[in-house]
């Protein structure tokens, strides 16, 4: 490729965001339109990338490489494979919808908000494209600044506590990862290139140290139990667009990090640590679901359901077989779509009622029927009803789990019942029953809001009915990834820690 498509993908939103500085701060309508245009063009760019993408190879595509800091051996190297391209697509889509949902709900410092959002988009694109550890780390950390501001400036009443907690949790994790990267650099032949690092064998003890260093960053981001506590606060206090981006893209980066670093570079440690990871995942699934039952705050409930759903994702990752991994990646996309859409929907109704208390709602189905229809679809997808995308992802993960550690799949599957319980109960409390006095006369969804939710609804059904559209991207890279994990060192799937010979 002669065109540096990935660089364009990263820097177009950044430059687009900075160009908003040129617009007079009074012209709010212009600012919004420009932000929407930038995000739409970005989506088109991503779609072009998808069309040009070759699904038959596990090699990085659209590769760009040039020296950046020669003194430190850091290269500006980009490339994507079948795993990252799905996340690029998800990111671009989520940002478009976030711009749409922030159209009227952001009243103050409008230009700053959209600038922060577009800078965030550029950094997120960078995370999924980077194939150099330091470049990856730079984008990874750079995301923190706009997200910190988005939650802290435009968030709810308790936003400052939430945003500082979010920032510090993530920062501590990331800094430990930085130490890990430096160690890897020293022992991996003084390079920061992820592919070159993955080709080498490291002693098991070193791998274990590195595994936990990377775990600190990724587990906080996912978030895995027990470092999940920042998530409910951040999700709840963030403005709608912030929650959507957090749930839709940001927390996927933890799992993406496991896929890019832990699995291919540290295969032995991954196999050794698979069992503890599965245990943590199962705890997250069950714990998140139980906590959901006790929530009285709408956004908080969805936030805890994210903990539970991301438990499925990490479960799928660490069963270390084709079905589990594919299901896990698909489930990340699904969760991005479903939970992102749920936050969008909650934002829309919050704008009308200004309350997130579940108890304040009731009988919304007769007041806002279109909204109720959308919400029902989202609820069913979150529960994992066959025909929606949620089913495919969870089913694949559970299949993978049965192949590897049946007990984990059994417990995870049983918590699906809890999932159905809290989601359907939520639906019942909000939409059925007597119409509350405050709910009478709420405005119907505007066309702009319907346009915001419609793509999500279509995607939910499309992936649910034809998952191969996305899975076809994953077959080859996931098979290659599993080769990397199982090819080196210990043989067979996920040995128990005690069984493996220590060096």
């Amino acid at each position: 490729m002669s065109m540096p498509l990935l660089s364009i993908l990263i820097f177009f939103p950044i430059l687009g965001g900075l160009s908003l500085l040129c617009v007079s701060r009074q012209h709010i309508a212009t600012i919004r339109t420009m932000a929407l245009l930038v995000s739409l063009v970005e989506l088109c760019l991503t779609l072009t990338l998808v069309l040009l993408f070759d699904r038959s190879t596990h090699e990085m595509q659209f590769v760009e490489q040039s020296p950046w800091i020669p003194a430190l051996h850091v290269n500006y190297s980009l490339g994507i494979d079948g795993i990252s391209i799905l996340f690029l697509l998800l990111t671009a889509l989520i940002i478009v919808l976030s711009v749409l949902v922030s159209w009227e709900s952001i009243g103050s410092k409008v230009a700053e908000f959209f600038i922060a959002m577009l800078l965030l988009e550029g950094a997120m694109m960078g995370v999924f494209c980077a194939t150099d550890c330091i470049l990856f780390y730079i984008f990874w950390e750079a995301m923190l600044i706009p997200m910190f501001l988005i939650i802290g400036i435009w968030g709810g009443p308790n936003r400052i506590y939430a945003t500082i907690k979010f920032f510090l949790y993530t920062l501590v994790g990331s800094l430990l990862m930085l130490v890990g990267i430096i160690i890897l650099y020293e022992y991996g032949g003084r390079t920061f290139d992820i592919r070159q690092l993955a080709e080498q064998a490291y002693p098991l003890k070193l791998q274990l140290v590195l595994f936990w260093a990377f775990f600190a960053a990724f587990a906080v981001k996912v978030p895995m139990w027990p470092v999940h506590t920042w998530l409910p606060d951040a999700h709840t206090e963030a403005p709608t667009a912030g929650s959507v981006i957090l749930a839709g893209v940001l927390i996927k980066m933890g799992a993406y990090g496991f896929l890019r670093f832990s699995l291919p570079i540290l295969p032995d440690a991954t196999q050794q640590m698979a069992l503890p990871m599965l245990v943590l995942s199962v705890i997250a699934i069950v714990y998140g679901a139980i906590i959901c039952l006790a929530q009285t705050d709408l956004k908080r409930l969805i936030a805890y359901s994210s903990v539970s759903h991301m438990g499925f994702v990490t479960l799928g990752l660490f069963v270390l077989n084709q079905r589990g991994l594919e299901g896990s990646i698909l489930q990340m996309i699904n969760h991005g779509i479903v939970t992102g859409a749920l936050f969008l929907a909650v934002g829309m109704v919050y704008k009308r009622t200004h309350t997130r208390e579940i108890a304040a709602y009731g009988g919304l189905a007769s007041v806002m029927p279109v909204y109720a229809g959308f919400f029902l679809l989202l609820t069913l997808a979150a529960v994992g009803l066959p025909g929606t995308n949620g089913f495919i992802g969870e089913f694949l993960i559970l299949l993978g789990g049965f192949e590897c550690q049946p007990w984990s799949a059994v417990i995870a599957a049983s918590s699906l019942i809890l999932g159905a319980w809290y989601m359907l109960w939520l639906y019942q409390r909000i939409f059925f029953g007597a119409v509350k006095a405050e709910m009478v006369g709420l405005a119907q969804l505007s066309p702009r809001e319907i346009i915001t939710l419609a793509p999500m609804a279509i995607l939910i059904l499309w992936i649910g009915l034809y998952p191969n559209g996305l899975l076809s991207f994953l077959h080859v890279p996931v098979a290659h990834l599993l080769n990397q994990v199982h090819g080196a060192g210990l043989s067979g799937a996920a040995l128990l820690p005690g069984v493996a010979p220590l060096p």
Partner: protein, 481 residues
């Protein structure tokens, strides 16, 4: 063996930048006395002089002058560049700053220049005598600068405290040097290293005592814990501009002699001073970052943060290699821009009669002055070490150097303390962006101040995005020895 050099006029060519600056310093005193109405030209004269000196320094050929007493090498060049940069920024922001405080004193500029000459001598010192001479020449004008607000009690206290502490530190240093001289019979830094090898002095208790005294004196100068106690009071009491200058210029010069003595004079003792410095670095970061958490004054908070940053900069010295030193130098360059930038914003906050140094002074700054708040945001994130700012590149380089030197636990400690530092830097961001102002104040930003802020922003962001050039230059300069 004592070399004697024949003094000829050509030798003076090697110290031309220093001579030029001394000349301008004297000229400034004259201008101030005889044409007091044209005082506004003083800073410009000074900036032009510094830029000329900078060009001379960058263009100088490596040479050993005055029988090894004065070294013009890559090491000196990088440190001289930092010191000149610090003085140029200080000079540019002088006029707006002193206008606010109404204290116009002509000798201020000459003092600054004489201090600069001292710093340049420190960077070039190849002999303990020159090193000490430079140190005192740097320090004496700064004692006076700290006390510029004569009527402010805090300032006088700071000046006296700084003077006493500085004199004490110099005495320790001198004591250590006398031990070295007694053991080796020379004051030439390079010869000392050779003699320690040839006379097998490396286990000599007197040499270790000398090392201890030198370390204590040097740590005083760059404010490394547990020798940092003067710093917060002096930094808080001094006029903000002088604080900004002290936190970048003299600190860089301090690191120049730190590196020169340890790397070139006592490399055989690396197994002694390496671990000591690792512990001191951790202690400094702990003291700086944790104490900064509970400050109510922004200026005092920045003072503690500058202590913490001295701890980070020490990490590069641990290895005792040029590569490690390059990390320290790179960090000092980046630190110059980000720290001076943060102090420049603090200077902007001040108004006649009100110093507005409290944290609350920046409440709601983002609504009133979005551009200034955004600048401060960049500087603070850079001080925290968040990419894509220069602070991250500098910190990353240092961590890598410390890891290569074999101190993995120090590295882990450093990153944890830098996570702690995020909390107090973020508090300022929080106040700027997420609180409403108590009393709406409008700030005026003069063109000179605007230029300073732009340079600092360009340095902070530019070195974060394109650090390759700087790092190559530093590595090449240090390897050129």
């Amino acid at each position: 063996m004592i070399q004697t050099a024949v003094a000829t006029w050509t030798v003076l060519g090697h110290i031309l930048p220093e001579l030029l600056l001394i000349g301008i310093g004297v000229l400034l005193i004259g201008c101030d006395l005889f044409i007091p109405r044209q005082r506004q030209v003083l800073p410009w004269l000074m900036v032009i002089g510094c830029i000329t000196a900078l060009i001379m320094v960058l263009g100088a050929r490596p040479v050993t002058a005055f029988g090894g007493m004065f070294l013009v090498d890559g090491y000196a060049m990088v440190f001289k560049t930092i010191c000149l940069g610090a003085v140029i920024l200080t000079a540019l922001s002088s006029e707006p700053f002193w206008q606010v405080f109404g204290a116009r004193q002509g000798e201020y500029y000459s003092l600054l220049l004489f201090s600069l000459v001292g710093m340049l001598l420190m960077a070039s010192a190849g002999d303990l005598m020159v090193l000490y001479l430079g140190l005192e020449l740097m320090a004496l004008p700064v004692y006076a600068l700290v006390g510029m607000h004569k009527r402010d009690q805090r300032t006088s206290e700071a000046a006296v405290k700084y003077f006493l502490m500085g004199a004490f530190a110099s005495a320790l240093l001198l004591f250590g040097m006398s031990f070295l001289y007694g053991l080796t019979g020379t004051t030439e830094i390079g010869r000392i290293a050779e003699l320690i090898v040839s006379m097998q002095l490396d286990a000599n208790p007197a040499l270790l005592a000398a090392l201890g005294l030198l370390l204590a004196g040097l740590c005083f100068k760059v404010a490394v814990a547990p020798f940092h106690f003067w710093t917060p009071d002096v930094y808080e009491g001094a006029p903000t501009l002088v604080t900004a200058f002290m936190s970048v210029g003299p600190k860089a010069a301090g690191f120049a002699i730190f590196g020169r003595v340890l790397l070139y004079g006592l490399p055989q003792l690396q197994n002694h001073w390496g671990p000591i410095l690792a512990v001191l670095a951790l202690l400094t970061m702990a003291v700086g970052n944790i104490t900064a958490l509970c400050q109510h004054s922004l200026k005092r908070m920045l003072a503690y943060s500058s202590i913490a940053h001295a701890g980070y900069a020490l990490l590069g010295l641990l290895a005792g290699t040029d590569e490690g030193m390059a990390a320290t130098v790179a960090y000092l360059v980046i630190y110059l821009f980000m720290n001076f930038g943060a102090f420049a914003v603090l200077m902007l906050l001040a108004a006649p009669g009100q110093s507005r140094e409290a944290l609350d002074a920046c409440k709601g700054l983002a609504s009133r002055h979005p551009a200034i708040a955004a600048l401060m945001l960049v500087f603070l994130f850079s001080l925290t070490g968040i990419p894509p700012t220069g602070g991250f590149i500098g910190k990353f380089y240092l961590l890598r150097a410390a890891f290569i030197a074999g101190y993995p636990l120090t590295v882990v400690g450093a990153v944890l303390f830098s996570a702690i530092s995020a909390f107090f830097y973020l508090r300022v961001v929080r106040l700027m962006y997420m609180s409403d102002a108590d009393d709406p104040v409008t700030l005026t930003c003069s063109p000179a101040m605007g230029a300073v802020l732009c340079v600092c922003l360009a340095g902070t962001l530019g070195l974060g995005l394109f650090p390759g050039f700087l790092l190559n230059w530093i590595v090449a300069a240090l390897a050129g020895n």
